[in-house]
Subunit: 221 residues, 2 copies
DNA sequence: AATGATTTTTAGAGTACCCTAAATATTTAT
DNA sequence: ATAAATATTTAGGGTACTCTAAAAATCATT
């Protein structure tokens, strides 16, 4: 069985390669795990015998199918636990990341099978991120950023790009959550902020940054 | 924060001292943690600066109040998770120990507060062991072993002494669980086994070993 | 193609665990 | 009270991770 550290390396590599196409480089992994580049090189050399990834000096790493499988199962576990924490225990979406980060390393296949059933086989976590099924398949969704909507277009919030605490708390502050209805009132050219109508009732001005990080499912008019 | 290993040492010391009065000795700790006596000595020396226990060479260790507090909280977490696994996820009582052993190390006070509330502030775990409250207080109960009951005395099963898997599965086999009614029909002198009436319907012959490990709350006749 | 900036690796060392074998202390039995 | 048995510690070493500083390789710019 893989150690917690190993699991964290594999997950970091998965997330980096998923975002930037191509191999994950040493510095990126180090940044992701808040460790030094030297430690990463050391770890990659020691781990590379275990067939989770291909590593070539100075070229970075990419996962094998075994590594992808492992990363996917970790993401599955992380997101299922997040659903548990929010839906069952009553945590809010900005409080669950660190706890799920610990829970995802608990090793028991039966536990995940039963947890998944108990939660009703959820397809998305509290941030709208898809939960891979037991076979590792993600359910994708037609979604666009709020920023990309044209004037008068409507939709509902289905996810957030980065689920960092400050952004989630910013959204809490405006009472924006998954399922919140949005209609574009206008784009402000000056700073690319947007005026939107929230839940058919409240008019809000949202920054470009916020609008680029909110995922919307469009309502066909 | 204490490492998982440290936590396991403290818990082992607590359980040993609880059972055998007096200091926990090196070999007992080693046996409890499936490690070598030399490793235990090594660890005790390194850990003894942290004020969890008093250690004197060749004399064994006993916990300080800080150590007792830590052990108690770990037991609280372990038993709450066991309740979750059985009551909510549908595990049986013989399947939950190892999973709870991992879950108990997850570090979040808020998580335990919310989990406890979600479970309805249970006082006992699935094996009938008391769950200490947030202040570390155990709810004790009037209980005796089945073995100690006289002929014709009645009671209900409220716990098991050791919750090792084989014993729990043995009980499953006879459909004996917490809440099962027991009435003593006779003591067999030859091997100290007992003839009992289970749930007012089934007559069973139980071994001395089993009867000594079953806790009963007597019904006043 | 050479220089400078950046990235990555190597070298050397530290901590937190674990081990076996040997030495020493304590307990038990005579 | 001594010998034998048992319990504990010490000595020496191993693995999995971490680090900083220095060396080497790659990339970017002219």
């Amino acid at each position: 069985m893989a150690s917690e550290t190993e699991e964290n390396y594999i997950k970091a590599i998965f997330k980096i390669t998923e975002k930037n196409q191509g191999a994950a480089n040493t510095n990126a992994i180090a940044a992701h795990l808040s460790t030094s580049a030297a430690s990463v090189t050391d770890m990659l050399k020691r781990l590379s015998s275990k067939d989770y990834f291909h590593y070539e000096k100075y070229k970075g790493v990419y996962l094998t199918s075994k590594g992808i499988e492992m990363a996917t199962q970790l993401i599955r576990k992380h997101r299922l636990w997040e659903v548990f924490l929010v839906d069952k225990l009553g945590f809010s979406w900005d409080q669950v990341h660190d706890i799920a980060e610990q829970l995802e390393h608990v090793d028991s296949d039966e536990l995940i099978i039963k947890l998944d059933a108990y939660l009703g086989h959820p397809k998305y976590d509290p941030h709208g991120d898809p939960i891979p099924n037991a076979e590792g398949k993600f359910t994708l969704r037609n979604q666009v950023t709020l920023q990309s909507l044209e004037k008068n277009e409507k939709g509902t919030v289905v996810g957030v790009r980065e689920n960092d605490t400050p952004f989630l708390q910013y959204l809490n502050h405006f009472n924006i959550k998954l399922g919140t209805k949005m209609q574009v009132l206008s784009h402000i050219d000056y700073d690319h902020s947007m005026k939107v109508l929230v839940d058919d009732t409240v008019e809000l001005l949202l920054s470009h940054k916020a609008c680029s990080n909110l995922f919307i499912k469009k309502t066909t008019l």
